[in-house]
């Protein structure tokens, strides 16, 4: 087994099309399985990736969405971004999304940086020492 830290990143650029949610989950599952995440962890990763995408689709504009999957420090990281003029990171519609991310992820963030909505989430691999 080689060090998982060498995997990726895989970057996907896609239109803000809800139907691509499943495609993102499939790709994320593939990367996570390859990196040795467990089935339960992959379930969490699928939810995290879907939450990141739906927040960008529901709060972003018509512009393309970029999503990156990376394995860093024994964690699966999903980072999503989309161009946006203004973005209320405290919008009530984001509450349920934040609640879910808080539960399934080790950490996450929702920010407006450089006219871009940026959302990231990390799911850590729980290895038995």
């Amino acid at each position: 087994m080689t060090d998982a830290a060498v995997i990726g990143p895989v970057v996907l650029r896609l239109p803000p099309d809800p139907a691509l949610s499943r495609v993102l989950r499939l790709a994320a599952s593939g990367v996570a399985a390859m990196a040795g995440f467990t089935v339960d962890e992959i379930d969490d990763i699928k939810i995290a990736v879907s939450e990141v995408l739906l927040a960008l689709i529901e709060h972003g504009g018509e512009g393309p969405i970029e999503v990156e999957f990376a394995i860093e420090d024994h964690a699966f990281i999903v980072r999503g971004s989309t161009p946006i003029e203004s973005f209320d990171v405290e919008h009530p519609d984001l509450l349920l999304c934040r609640t879910v991310l808080t539960s399934v992820c080790t950490s996450h963030g929702i920010e407006l940086i450089d006219q871009q909505a940026q959302i990231w989430a990390a799911v850590t691999h729980a290895s038995i020492p």
Binding site: A19, S21, I47, E51, L96, C97, T99, V100, S103
Partner: protein, 108 residues
């Protein structure tokens, strides 16, 4: 599946007078499809949603279920979720929304 077009990741089967049977993923694409199907059926009174063939749901999917629950409560009734699998149950639990529904798990 021989004609070309978008293949929906979620389909809804309407058993007249019976359950609304959902097949597929209740995500940002499937949530609105389910919501539309629910709105068409709710004038009939009680709402039973069969989730036996649903193995993925995210917060946008949950919102379509919560919307049905809120509208059911306004009519003095409750939404029944039938054959709820582990993935759906988990999302209900982590969002603290199990009490919004009458839940029958897959093992019932």
């Amino acid at each position: 599946m021989t004609d070309m077009g978008n293949y929906d990741s979620l389909t809804v089967e309407n058993v007249p007078g019976g359950a609304i049977v959902v097949h597929g993923d209740i995500d940002v694409a499937g949530g609105p499809i389910l919501e539309a199907a629910l709105l068409r059926r709710e004038n009939e009174g009680s709402v039973v949603i069969d989730l036996g063939d649903v193995s993925f749901i995210d917060s946008s999917g949950l919102r379509s279920l919560l919307g049905a629950s809120r509208r059911a409560r306004a009519r003095g009734t409750t939404v029944v979720l039938r054959h709820v699998g582990a993935e759906v149950l988990r999302l209900l639990e982590i969002t603290g929304t199990t009490s919004h529904f009458s839940i029958e798990t897959s093992n019932d």
